[in-house]
Amino acid sequence: MVHSLAHAPTPAWHRIHAVRHKRAWLIMTGVVVIAAILIALGFFGMVTWGVLGSAIFHTTYRLVLAYFIALALGVTIALLVGWSPLGDYFFPVFDVLQNLPSFALIPLFIYFLGYTNQMIIFFAVSSIVWPILFAVLTAIKSAHNDLNDAATIFGARGWKRIPFYLTPLSYPAILTGSIVGIAIGWESVIGAEIITDIAGFGAFIKGADVTGISQGAIAGMIAILVIVFVVNRLVWAPLLAESAKRYAE
């Protein structure tokens, strides 16, 4: 009997990942050190840290909320459409909808929800949902025929197909769709805040620009950079690595 580990990650694979991981942390440490030096030199003396902190908090929590709503919505719709025999009819509809420029629709969101927190959140949902939905739908539609047949033959039929087959099958796609969706989400939330002047990082940098305190905008950008990096390294990178290892052919 053969006991070899045919497809397990090799030592070279581990080395490459370790080097990438170390390099990313080095770059981020450099950014933080430079920021600390600039703070020590008084470059950010004009920045009102409390206001900046509150602005970043508002933007981040809107994004997180929008992400979870979009995740639930995108995955649910994609699973139902992927599961349904009529699913192919929905593809062209989604294709047209996702091509609509989201910022062109912002007046519609303002009309229905006003200049509110909810407006920004649902506007962000409308942008985040598409990469998640399409990633999951594509994963379901491009699944190997044999795997689909195995699921059917061994009993994952009817509603059971969704939790026991389609959902775990879509896991890597949920991750990649989420990463792209969140990147788009940052843009949507900050853009909507700039347009509507609702308190948040967008409104903060717009205000900083108007009042000429560009250090505020720079400090804010560094802070967002650090948040994005930390989330990427501590949440997405380990999940992606685990998914790549497990779902390897």
């Binding site: 580990l5 045919a6 087959y165």
Partner: protein, 249 residues
């Protein structure tokens, strides 16, 4: 005289068509008629494009034929795939237990059966491994254990040895024969190696291509257990190989 109820499967004049890019109806299978006696081991041999996989899918009810009649006197079919078709998100144990889980078996019961089947195929020590960390031979054994776990009365195998090295496939063939004898189920196997088909089968269905059709049904008149190094075996291989070659010319 044999009756339909002595048969696990009876196909009469089964035809399958598919529409090409120009919407022309192309026959993939034409007038397929054969029957599988209960407890028999039957192999299908044929060139690429003979529609062997389509035939398997029709037998399992995964595809509907365009015309013809199928009598299915089996309740629990299972399949072993050429490309294993294991669920990458499940461990070897959970892959084997998948069918039982879909049947509603409790965790304790399904894990007990799955462990027993993994032991039968010699992989008890690898129950926690995920498919990505198994060799081709090990994956195929997990695939076989997954099929056995649901106690099938018809086991369909689609070129189960084609991705395996000679030593692994020899070991798996010997295990398969032991399992077939102890379970008493009917096995229908697609194979591309004539000596393998002769070593394992009671009957060989020779299929021609474009469209797929049964050209000949050959009986293997060797007593079991078959000694693959005996002169009689080589002689039988020679005779049947020549017969199949002439049939497919």
């Amino acid at each position: 005289m044999t009756h339909d109820h002595d048969m696990t499967l009876v196909l009469s004049r089964v035809t399958a068509r598919f529409a090409d890019e120009k919407k022309n109806s192309i026959p993939t299978l034409k007038d397929i008629s054969f029957s599988l006696p209960k407890g028999s081991f039957v192999s299908i041999i044929g060139p690429s494009g003979a529609g062997k996989s389509t035939l398997m899918r029709i037998i399992l009810g995964l595809m509907q034929p365009s015309s013809g009649e199928i009598i299915r006197n089996f309740k629990r079919p299972a399949m072993v795939f050429q490309n294993y078709a294991l669920f990458p998100w499940l461990s070897a144990l959970d892959n084997v237990a998948f069918g039982l889980r879909m049947d509603g078996a409790g965790r304790h019961e399904r894990e007990r059966v799955a462990r027993e089947k993994l032991r039968e195929v010699g992989l008890a020590h690898l129950e926690n491994r995920f498919p990505a960390a198994l060799s081709g031979g090990q994956r195929q054994r997990v695939g076989l254990a997954r099929a056995l776990a649901i106690s099938p009365d018809l086991l369909i195998m689609d070129e189960p040895f084609s991705n395996l090295d000679t030593i692994t496939s020899e070991a798996l063939k010997s295990d398969l024969l032991k399992i077939w004898r102890s379970y008493g189920m009917t096995i229908l196997m697609v194979n591309h190696l004539i000596p393998d088909a002769i070593e394992l089968s009671d009957q060989i269905l020779v299929m021609g291509a474009h469209p797929g059709r049964i050209e000949k049904v050959l009986s293997v008149d060797l007593t079991r257990p078959r000694d693959t190094r005996a002169a009689t075996f080589f002689k039988q291989v020679d005779i049947l190989t020549e017969d199949i070659r002439r049939t497919l010319e």
